[in-house]
């Protein structure tokens, strides 16, 4: 008998044996108490797993089944959206020690965080983004970072702050961002932009940025999403204003702007009276102009069709010619070095210099 066949028979037998064994252990025999064994154990105290190892119902479950749970019918109003949004414990006013940094003067950095709410790495990243935005946009984005639960001091109004600090310099959008509570954010535009961008548009930009921020859970991520969306919205503000040209920065911008305004005002003042004078006569002027053009065209056509005649004088014949006396010029075009100007005085060959 070959070894392969022996192995196959052995495996077959082993399989049958395993199947029979598993069939015999499919329903294991549970242990059972011997007489008096349980009572003896109970007398000794607690039996581990006695709750599970008995067929008696669980006492608490029984009580729960017998008496249905009582529902608490409390007369409490549901929280409003503001209550949900607001932090549970307000942080109070911005501490007075930070007022100079916040409200003292126009910030030198696009990100104002005197309370160090951001880590140095996050601060650097966000500031880098704001700097990038300023380089790419005509409207700067200044962000004041405030704790989510903090309040503005009663003495400070954000409109007054923006007007005082941002009435000069490049156009700017100023955002007061409450870290962790983006829905409390506020936006104000510098006075040079308020006429061009409506409050509705400002509101839309803010709402859109807040929506983006609220998609994140981490306050820093929220802040980042807010800034990105706000930068995009400012771009669209620029497009709406049609101011795609690059503006000079700082004082130069102001000087240029004042000069432009002065020039435009001066030019407008000069043109306005002229326009007012000309306007009533405009229809007559157009008629006259049309008549002049028509006249010019007619004159052009007639002049092209006009025939010119020469008086016929009696001319004595010369040199025996019945029709012509040979008057006229001869020109040589043999060489470019002999221009017509040098050929004007035509003299006999024997008078030419050799």
């Amino acid at each position: 008998m070959k070894p392969g066949r022996i192995l196959a028979v052995w495996l077959f037998a082993l399989g049958i044996a395993t199947a029979a064994r598993s069939a015999s252990f499919s329903e294991p025999v549970l242990p059972s108490w011997a007489d008096g064994e349980r009572e003896a154990m109970e007398e000794g105290g607690w039996i581990a797993g006695s709750i599970l190892l008995t067929d008696d119902p669980i006492p608490e479950e029984t009580a729960a089944e017998e008496s249905p749970p009582e529902t608490a019918e409390l007369d409490i109003a549901e929280p409003t959206a503001e209550e949900i949004a607001e932090p549970e414990e307000p942080d109070g006013e911005i501490p007075e020690s930070f007022w100079p940094e916040y409200f003292g003067q126009r910030p030198e950095s696009f990100l104002v965080d005197p309370q160090d709410l951001l880590s140095s790495v996050d601060f650097r990243d966000r500031l880098a983004f704001l700097n990038y935005h300023a380089g790419d946009s005509n409207i700067d984005l200044f962000v004041y970072l405030i704790k989510g639960g903090q309040e503005f001091p009663g003495e400070v109004r954000e409109e007054e702050l923006v007007e005082r600090c941002f009435s000069t310099g490049r156009p700017a959008a100023v955002v007061f961002y409450f870290l962790g509570a983006p829905q409390r954010s506020m936006i104000s535009l510098s006075p040079s932009l308020t006429d061009a961008v409506s409050s509705v548009e400002q509101r839309r930009a803010l709402d859109s940025s807040v929506m983006q921020a609220l998609e994140k859970t981490d306050p820093v991520d929220q802040f980042e999403a807010f800034l990105v969306q706000m930068s995009i919205r400012i771009y669209w503000m620029e497009r709406m204003m049609g101011s795609e040209r690059a503006e000079p920065s700082g004082e130069a911008y102001q000087v240029a702007r004042r000069t432009e305004e002065g020039e435009s005002h001066g030019l407008r003042d000069k043109i306005q009276p002229v326009l007012a004078t000309v306007k009533p006569h405009l229809p007559v002027g157009l008629v006259v102009l049309s008549a002049m053009i028509c006249g010019w065209v007619a004159n052009f056509v007639l002049r092209r069709r006009v025939r010119y005649r020469f008086p016929d004088f009696d001319v004595e014949q010369r040199l025996g010619g019945e029709h012509a006396a040979g008057i006229g010029a001869v020109i040589s075009f043999a060489s470019a070095s002999l221009p017509p100007a040098s050929q004007r005085d035509q003299v006999p060959d024997y008078l030419r210099r050799m």
Partner: protein, 220 residues
């Protein structure tokens, strides 16, 4: 007015050049005394292509339309020496019979441009009709306009350019002649005698005698 051969100034009624004795008979001896039949645009040298011929003929026709008395003729051919071109133009305008011209247009009203592409020279002569109105400098200016084109071998362009300038010159002269015909008439009058000169000077200091008009009554 200059002699076609020696280019010296000659008298306005000279039958031959007082300097060299040149006359049409001399030119006949060189080119022939028979009448030459040709068309206004004769391209014997073959320097004009078909499209170019049309452009040139159109420019020639334009001058004939604006100046009904005048016509332009163009002859191209090899003539040899440059100095002969002036004599040739003089001879050709006197001896040619243009087939495509109406009989009421004599050669006196002609302006002939001769181009010799071999010796690279061109000349322009005109008949007695234009004798008071044009002079040598006018024709020289016309040929100067074409000089740059002819240097490059663009003969048709040069001819069209020359004719355009000629048209402007003729317009100016015609207007001037209408305003002041005496200015041109004086150029062709026979030379005044001394007595005429004195009489004109004296007449200038007197009021002109008023002649009776036909419808006016004359007192007995």
């Amino acid at each position: 007015m200059k002699c076609p051969r020696c280019v010296q100034r000659i008298h306005r009624a000279a039958s031959s050049c007082p300097h060299c004795g040149f006359s049409l008979g001399d030119a006949d001896g060189r080119y022939g005394s028979e009448e030459v039949r040709l068309r206004c645009l004769t391209d014997s040298a073959g320097i004009l292509r078909r499209g170019e011929r049309e452009r040139v003929e159109s420019a020639m026709e334009r001058i004939s339309q604006r100046f009904p008395q005048v016509f332009v003729a163009i002859y191209t051919g090899s003539l040899g020496e440059v100095s002969n071109l002036r004599q040739f133009g003089f001879w050709l305008l006197n001896r040619s019979a243009f087939e495509d011209l109406p009989p009421d247009k004599p050669n006196e009203a002609g302006i002939l441009i001769s181009i010799d592409p071999e010796s690279k020279a061109a000349g322009m002569v005109f008949g007695y009709l234009l004798d008071p109105f044009l002079d040598e400098s006018d024709t020289f200016d016309c040929l100067s306009r074409a000089h740059a084109y002819w240097l490059e071998g663009r003969y048709a362009d040069g001819i069209v350019r020359a004719l355009a300038h000629l048209e402007n010159v003729l317009v100016k002269k015609s207007r001037h002649a209408r305003r002041d015909p005496e200015h041109f008439q004086r150029k062709v009058l026979p030379p005044a005698m001394m007595g005429d000169l004195v009489r004109r000077i004296r007449d200038g200091h007197r009021a002109p005698a008023r002649l009776p008009q036909p419808d006016e009554e004359v007192a007995p």
